[in-house]
Symmetry: C2
Subunit: 310 residues, 2 copies
DNA sequence: GTTCCGCATGAATCGATAG
DNA sequence: ACTATCGATTCATGCGGAA
């Protein structure tokens, strides 16, 4: 039920928008909406989303599918959207933005830094910056830099106080990976475990017996690059982690750039309601298709779910 | 012998600067200078330093000893210094700034972001941002955030082309831990390592036989150096890594906030010349005292020198 | 059934080449 | 001189076939 598109005048940065709230606006829970993020968000009521977690198209990336946004225009393009995101987010909600600036011509672009500063002017609080350490980063060699193995997961809130369920992301103490590897030897063994769940359950029960500690603000996850089923640069363990951390069951999670639907699948798995938006029909259809299937956690997902600690 | 400050016009990239170099200015190699960073730097000749690596007061959390610089004044305080640093740095040199913004009042401060933007206006290139993942981060618990386990190591240059010796920081191929563990039993490994040096040497020789790969822009180092009694926020393996990466033997390394002298010790160890500056006499004396002692690499230092890969 | 090995595949980035 | 396109480079990972 997409509404008629009304082109509102662009809001100035920092202009309060709450007054525009209309009671006819409704929230299409558990839906993938095919449409422009800004216009679609404008149909949502104020103060209604518990968590926004997204990985927007990066500047100049995914040019074939999204057309690519020029680095110089990135902030300008994104700011009206973050303004709407702020409107629809609950006062105790969180916005997790997964992004990384590209390197070009020997230098890192500054649009992410500028975005943070501009979003603060909109009224967002820059609460924290988590680092996603990509264990398997893109290969390559250059004279002036190494492979880029990390991305930002920037945590914005509307308020100093917000919902955070730290216990739900606690991890087993110690270097589980090494201990595990000293018992089970290789990848081939793991392949078998993924087929039958029994082997896996055993390992999980091992972890449950361990002493649990709070994690840090550094996440160690692998990308799902060579997952032949669907190549998503956004591993499901990333939204899973933040959804567990910032929502409880029954809460509503929004991803305005849902892509292949990873965030929605994470929600379904965790009994949260989702709303996904994407401008590309192919992606919306792919997301719907993936949502219909029963989610099978792969070994990578589970490996990813536990932090590595040394 | 501080000279009168002459405000020179900014140099264009690539413009030869050697001609401006004043012959009266001299470089006090292998010295710890007790003084204000800005004034001291003004006595140095242009274009003479190969690498600047430092952890200025904030990242060090030395507010108590330094008197502390208010976050709002940080950029204003630092910019004149970075300007002098740019002047004394060679055209093919690098400036590595280890820093992390504080969280205050529930929010991360933005002074580091602003500093990057302002330094670019000074003519610096924001070439890269390395992440130092602190494997053993400071403990603590807060309602709105987890332990902060990473810091920025921001890499600035004057030029697109600069000296970089990538081979000198190569690491054993990624799955070394797995392969190692599948061969050595857990107990064997621990027994070897606990015997201090001899066991370590053996392990290192194992590593040398392995295939080596280039590292990424994420460093995994522990915070504490058991070398000093107080847990240093600045482990020696951090400057060691960057000194190896950006200089060769005989080059000159500058740390304008040398503190207890860690950068200088790293230089001495690697046969580079150092220049350290600190405003506090106690620190200068401590640095001198540490420099006189023979440096003994500890277990932790050696562990730190190898990148942690999964 | 194991274990071993080869292969394809990436949110990349630079330098060279072409218009 | 500036922009668009293309090839070269590199490595963690899952997958499938072979020994």
């Amino acid at each position: 039920m997409p509404k008629k598109r009304k082109s509102k005048p662009a809001l100035k940065i920092g202009e309060p928008v709450a007054v525009y709230s209309s009671k006819h606006k409704s929230l299409p829970k558990n839906t993938i909406i095919c449409g422009d993020a800004l216009n679609t968000l404008q149909t949502f009521p104020d103060d209604s989303i518990n968590l926004i977690v997204t990985s927007p198209p990066y500047a100049d990336r995914r040019e074939k599918t999204y057309g690519g946004i020029a680095p110089e225009k990135y902030v300008e393009w994104f700011l009206p959207i973050t303004n709407e995101l702020k409107r629809v987010l609950r006062l105790d909600g969180s916005f997790v933005l997964n992004i990384k600036e590209k390197a070009e011509n020997g230098e890192r672009h500054t649009y992410v830094l500028e975005l943070i500063l501009e979003m603060r002017k909109q009224g967002w609080l820059w609460t924290e910056e988590y680092v996603w350490h990509k264990r398997n980063s893109y290969p390559g060699k250059w004279p002036n830099r190494f492979r880029d193995a990390w991305e930002r997961c920037i945590h914005f809130t509307k308020n100093k106080k917000f919902a955070m369920y730290q216990e739900s992301v606690m991890v087993p103490v110690g270097n589980w990976a090494q201990k595990r590897l000293s018992k089970l030897s290789d990848t081939d063994k793991r392949r078998d475990e993924s087929k039958t769940k029994s082997g896996f359950g055993k390992n999980i029960s091992n972890w449950l017996n361990r002493e649990m500690v709070y994690p840090t603000n550094v996440l160690h996850l692998a990308t799902e690059s060579s997952n032949t089923k669907h190549s998503a640069a956004y591993p499901i363990s990333l939204p899973i982690w933040f959804i567990r951390l910032f929502t409880k069951e029954g809460d509503i999670v929004l991803d305005p750039f849902i892509g292949s639907g990873t965030t929605a699948i994470a929600c379904k798995e965790l009994q949260r309601d989702y709303i996904g938006i994407d401008i590309l029909k192919e992606y919306c259809e792919l997301a719907e298709a993936r949502l219909k299937k029963k989610y099978q956690p792969t070994l990578l997902d589970i490996k990813n779910e536990s932090e590595y600690q040394d």
